[in-house]
Each structure stands twice: as structure tokens, then as C-alpha cells.
Symmetry: C2
Subunit: 283 residues, 2 copies
């Protein structure tokens, strides 16, 4: 997905939020905004928003000197999600179609986001997401594709959401490679967060090699790209991964909750809708 003009004010808003998470120093935070403001003119609209997100968070790190402003929030998200884990297992176990419920839960977990959606309420929003019918629902295609799948690549998004992903991976009962960001960016999961969520016990946890809040293929590592090329089923979580991969003709299922009107419009749904979208749905 290209960068829309509406993304530009939002980059400033995200920079402000991240800088405030890093420190409480108005002058430094203003300096972050000054530098992000100057980035605008260098920003090509044909690159995807996470490409700019990468630059924005680099500025936040450089100016504030704080490498991971969301470290505490990420740890808290994982703890909260782990506390919900037993009840998630129960909900899945009690349901008529455990796989479908687990997919819905994995989508619901995507509401955890300190970039686009800082004001979420985990338990309330999860319940709502389970109840609500996805605006795009290619679950049947997912179920069919999963049956024959041999190598699954799972592209993680936010820390905490990782625990929801774990529930789905347990139900899928297939070999899974779980890929995360190369380094902290917003509240996206890193290898450390994935391990803390217990994912290393049931999947091979790898870094994408890319430090953007999305999977930018030409910035990914060779080992990751091998996984990407070999996989016969790819699960892509969240807006950032959708933004960077949406043009790809690969067997990708996008599982996400929309948190901004621009991405909702790009997908043809309403802001706040949930989506289970198969990239090759019209093939």
C-alpha cells in the first residue's frame, strides 16, 4: 500500500506519542517533531507507510536516546495477554469450531497497538471482536488452505498479540515459523517478546531482519526471505504487514483490525472493522 497524504499528519502524531513514551522533556519532544516535520519533504508517496514509520522511530531513538520507548508497555501487554491465556484456551476448547474461534481471537488480539490505537481496553475489545462478524471473511479459504499446508510462515505484529497468536498456532497443529521485527519499533514484537509469550515452545521464532513496523521485503534478511518463498501459507497480522505486503501475489491471509480510515478505505471496509482476507481470493 502506498502512503496516503492523510498518513503525514499521523506520522507526526505517532512521533509525538512515541517521544512522550520515551521521556518527559518538552524541548526534546519538540526536537523530535522538528525533525519528523523536515522528513515530510523527503517522503515519497509511493513507498509504504512502514518505510516512513521506520524513519520516524529512528528519529525518536536518536533524539531521545531511548532505544525502546514502549518496553514497559510491551511487557505489560504480554503479561495481560498471558493472564487471559487460560480463558482463551477455554473459549476455543468450548467452541463448535475451535479453529474459527482461534482465528477470530488472533484477529481480536490485533487491537493491541500503541501506534494507531493507544486507547484500547483489552478484555472489552476482545469480547466485541469475537462477537462481530469480520467485514471481509475468507475463513473458509483459510481452513481449506491450512489442511494441505506444509510450511506456514506467521508474521507477528504487536507484543501481547503474540499470546493470541500462540493460541491459534496451538490449534493449527502444523509446523510454523513465527517472524518478528529485527529490533524494537513502536510496540511490535521482537524475538524476546515472542519468547516471553511462549511462542518458542511451538514455533521456530525468527527475525525478519527488518526494523520497520512492517515486512519490507527488500530490507529483510536472506534466511527470512527463504521462509517467505517456501511457505505455502502465510499469516500476516496487523496493518503494518498489510501495508508492506498488500501488492504481493502470495498465499497470504491478512488477519487484522483496522485502526485508521486510510487502511479501512484501502481494504474497502469501515474503520474499526475486522478482516480475514486472502490475498489470492480472486484466483
Amino acid at each position: 500500500m502506498k502512503t496516503y497524504l492523510d498518513c503525514i499528519p499521523c506520522f507526526l502524531k505517532q512521533a509525538l506519542f512515541a517521544a512522550r513514551a520515551a521521556l518527559d522533556d518538552e524541548e526534546k519532544i519538540k526536537e523530535v517533531l522538528d525533525r519528523v516535520g523536515m522528513l515530510v519533504s523527503e517522503l515519497p508517496l509511493d513507498s509504504s507507510p512502514p518505510e516512513t514509520g521506520r524513519e520516524v522511530y529512528r528519529v525518536v531513538r536518536e533524539v531521545t536516546g531511548v532505544d525502546d520507548p514502549f518496553a514497559t508497555l510491551k511487557a505489560e501487554s504480554i503479561e495481560k495477554a498471558l493472564a487471559l491465556y487460560p480463558s482463551m484456551k477455554q473459549i476455543v476448547g468450548d467452541s463448535d469450531d475451535p479453529l474459527e474461534t482461534a482465528v477470530r481471537l488472533a484477529v481480536a488480539g490485533n487491537l493491541i497497538d500503541f501506534g494507531a490505537n493507544p486507547d484500547f481496553n483489552l478484555e472489552r475489545d476482545v469480547k466485541e471482536a469475537l462477537r462481530k462478524e469480520p467485514a471481509i471473511n475468507h475463513y473458509e479459504a483459510f481452513k481449506n488452505k491450512l489442511e494441505g499446508a506444509r510450511e506456514i510462515l506467521y508474521l507477528g505484529d504487536n507484543a501481547g498479540e503474540t499470546v493470541f497468536d500462540r493460541v491459534l498456532i496451538e490449534v493449527m497443529a502444523k509446523p510454523v515459523t513465527y517472524a518478528v521485527r529485527e529490533r524494537p519499533v513502536i510496540n511490535d514484537a521482537t524475538v524476546e517478546d515472542a519468547v516471553r509469550s511462549g511462542l518458542d515452545e511451538l514455533a521456530e521464532v525468527v527475525s525478519s531482519g527488518c526494523d520497520a513496523p512492517g515486512v519490507i521485503l527488500n530490507r529483510c534478511s536472506e534466511p527470512f526471505l527463504d521462509h517467505y518463498k517456501r511457505a505455502d501459507l502465510i499469516i500476516s497480522k496487523g496493518q503494518g504487514n498489510y501495508e508492506t505486503l498488500s501488492g504481493e501475489q502470495r498465499p497470504i491471509f491478512y488477519l487484522l483490525k483496522t485502526k485508521c480510515p486510510v487502511i479501512a478505505a484501502d481494504l474497502g471496509v469501515k474503520d474499526g472493522d475486522t478482516v480475514i482476507k486472502y490475498a489470492l481470493a480472486n484466483d
Copy 2:
């Protein structure tokens, strides 16, 4: 009121909205955002937001070549408000306290705003504003002050809102000078808009001499400043005028509806609340 860090992303958002109102050319609109982005580093936080708003709309004019992007929207707002004028007169005439109702209507009219609040619904929102108790309500002080007032200065805000102001001025039945912006900025009223709203028939319509979306005293004309100094009652409509005058120790009544969390916090009210605030309330 100083500029808060949260205002900065909002300047970009307003620039985008105004540039889109001016033309349909993605490259030109991007150029507006590039230039506003570069403004950020030159922006002192101790100046009021309309000081920056003035620069932002200057950039919009220069890059797009369109002097008044909101000309059509302003004319429509005035027409819509004029269509409501007979029912406003009726509501005021039928009420127990016509002055209070007219003040409430004048506050309600402030919801017309293509800068901070482009998605308003005039009739619905006016009804709600009439029903809702102002979060700060110095109406009694206003009524008392008005009784002895000899020279009233009325600082207009948006085109269309001007018709609501007309209803209040008619009820006040006192000599009023009605001041507007020196030139088009956002959808703020100019002399032309005030005349189109019928204000010249019952008030002396003057320009403040200032082209910002607020009254920046050191940018105002001498004749306006004479009015400002002489007035024994000043009615200041809207956020922009509040932002530029909030430190002033003058007999000012701020009549406005808050349309952003920053100004709401500065006033100690909730976003969306209405306010009738006397600047000298604690004197």
C-alpha cells in the same frame, strides 16, 4: 494560550484539509505538507496557535494559488444559517429569557468550523447545544455586565456563525462594533461575510486588521485597538479568539464550543463542551 505539542500534528491535518479544499492535485497538496512540515522547526511554542495557523494558511495560499479555499463553503454556511434565522428568532421570542437563549444560540453557532470541526450537522448540533448546560456558565455575569455596557466589541469567528451572532446582537439592543478578519483564513468571517449575514444593519462592521484565525493584538490595526481599549464589554467568539486573548485582563466573555482536547484541557472542560466564560470572573 501557548501552542501545545499536540497542536503540531493538527497543523498538518488542517493544512491538508485546506489544500484539498483549494484543489485536487496530489503533488501540490504534498508540497503544502512539505512546507508546513518545514515550518515546524521554526515554530515557537510560546506563540499562540493562530500565529502558526496564519503561517499555515499563507503556505496553502502560496502553493495552491487559491486565495480563499473555503469561499464556497462559507457562502453555503451563511445561506444555511440565514435559512434558520426565522426559527432562531421564534425560539428566542418564545423563550422565558430571550437574552439567555440568544447567548446559547450564539454559542451553538460556533460549531460551524471547517478548521477544527469539518463534520458538523447544523440543525442537529444547534438543538443539542441549546439543550446542553454550558460546562462554564457565566451568563449571570454577562447579563449584569451588559446592563451597564456602553460600548460593546463583538469578535466574530466563522462565516455562518455570524447569523447566530446577529440574533444575539438584536436581543442585546446596544451599540455594537462587530470585528472580523482582515482577509480570508479558514472559514473565518470577513467584512464581506458579515455584510452578507446582515450584520451591517445593526452593528458597525470593522476589520481587526489581522489575517490570523484569531485576534493577535500586536498584529491588529490602530482603529481596531481603539475599539478594543474603549469597549466595556467584549464578546469573543470561538477557539481562535480565545487562544489569542486568553491571557488578557479585559471584560471579555468567551463564547465557544470546544472542538479539540487541547483547548478543552486549557479551559478545564471536556472536548465538545460549550462555554460562556468571563475573563475577569475571579476579580
